[in-house]
Symmetry: C2
Subunit: 298 residues, 2 copies
């Protein structure tokens, strides 16, 4: 078992490094005006990461694509058991300037603990400001195709998990129109764990084809001040989800994670107004209805 765990560990880290390179390269081409800058950081207990940020671009107001690979003593480690952990992952949040282009989040990660087990987690989800059913269908279908190659139960399970995870309880609505989410995905045999890795690889590589066509479709659309205003209110909800509920964010902040890398997920600007509601029948109300009743897109 030990050799295989090391092998997966190396391959997972390699995959996430490659993904960071490919995704940031594609996003720079898509943006056309700004480039990512990189900050390399080290974790005092072992390992580190690369945070890449593109800001004030023509398409993206703020785009963050983080890679990390950290290791060290597990919190439950003692002199006797000497338990260590290793975690590697990629995490990205893209906030476009235009309210016609959805915000997107994706995250894939691998975790292992000595003498215990190894697992994968991840997913991606779309947060539009205006509902475009064709976009929703395209995003979900692209992900479903990647899932179905590996296990027909994955997409329905992980789609449901996503709707449940990205739920803003105090607003009684989801953060966006979903995608997939999975965590602690493990297996009793090496062969099955290899299969999970193959799935994670395909799911991660489906990110660009799932999202980029949506950006290309809407990037030249006109938008009004009112539409921008609605986007900022919705971004307030994004902040609420991330700071109140997101387990990754809260865990990171509580365990002295790298604050700037964790909070790179927040939008540049967000608004809160007392009791603001879209007028009935408006495009804004149409989006809200879907957030209150998550739909099956396929």
């Amino acid at each position: 078992m030990a050799e295989i765990q090391y092998s997966l560990r190396t391959r997972a880290e390699t995959l996430f490094r490659k993904l960071q390179d490919e995704i940031t390269a594609a996003l720079e081409i898509l943006d056309g005006s700004e480039k990512f800058f990189q900050e390399t950081w080290e974790r005092p207990g072992g390992g580190g990461g690369q945070t890449r940020i593109l800001k004030e671009g023509s398409v993206f107001e703020k785009a963050g694509v983080n890679f990390s690979a950290v290791h060290g003593d597990a919190p439950e480690s003692t002199a006797e058991n000497g338990i260590t952990f290793f975690a590697t992952g990629i995490s990205l949040v893209l906030h476009p300037r235009s309210p016609k282009i959805p915000t997107v989040h994706a995250n894939f990660r691998y975790f292992e603990q000595t003498n215990q087990h190894a697992w994968f987690g991840g997913g991606m989800d779309l947060t539009p400001y205006y509902l475009d059913e064709e976009d929703a269908f395209h995003f979900h279908r692209t992900i479903k195709t990647a899932c179905d190659k590996h296990d027909p139960s994955y997409y329905p399970r992980f789609k449901k998990w996503c709707d449940e995870y990205f739920y803003i309880k105090h607003r009684e609505e989801t953060r966006g129109i979903g995608g997939i989410f999975f965590d602690n995905l493990s297996a009793p045999t090496v062969r099955e764990l290899e299969n999970i890795f193959a799935f994670v690889e395909d799911a991660a590589y489906s990110f660009l084809p799932a999202y980029v066509p949506i950006v290309e479709k809407h990037r030249d659309e006109h938008y009004t001040e009112d539409e921008k205003h609605w986007q900022l209110l919705r971004r307030g909800r994004y902040v609420e989800f991330n700071l109140v509920y997101d387990r990754g964010t809260r865990f990171g902040l509580e365990t002295n994670g790298r604050t700037e890398s964790i909070l790179m997920s927040l939008p540049t600007v967000a608004r809160w107004e007392y009791d603001a509601h879209p007028s009935p029948g408006s495009p804004e109300a149409k989006l809200e209805a879907v957030l209150k009743n998550p739909r099956e897109w396929i």
Copy 2:
């Protein structure tokens, strides 16, 4: 004991209602352009409140002054013990438009549980965007005077408690330059509980004299776009504190509180930029230094 508890309950509710009226009246005069509107709400389990909001005023971008008095079965109530609770309080957050005027928060509350105990909580704290030592001194001295009338240990204890409570751990800084904070302030005898009520009354009435002179002093000062930009970044930190740490906010959101009344504390607009730091020696850096090392103002 029972009669006295009822009496305190009625007097506490009356105090907080009166305070809401006096404070909103004073703030309308101070703002000079906009008025508060009121929403009255009922709590399904018993009681309700009045949320008053003033928005887009000439001085205040957003000002919320909430009153509530709620009662019902305590969470630990069973058919056998029939434990009930009563809670009343006033809570306010004022976000001025100008970065030269500090944001302020105040909250006073009374809580009692049948056959158990009664206690008070509250405090007020100032969140400037630029440090004015005279303001800090005035704010703290006004509060200290109210505290000292009742117990010389109150101000030093509650000032320290405030610095500790309004601490943004992941930023290693306080939310603002403090004030006082106290919770679960109770007493074994009726007489002592009455003394605590008298203290809460004086502390609550010190709010307007502690804050209003600061507004009057800075209301006509000019400010630049850069100063407004810094205010929005600091408001991001305000949002971080409220959503990640504030126990009242988190408890309210988790227990199906009235979301709009709870989140009225958030500023209209907040900004997040990756790794933004004020330049050394700037007025912005001077504020940051005080947030990292809370000072004794008196």
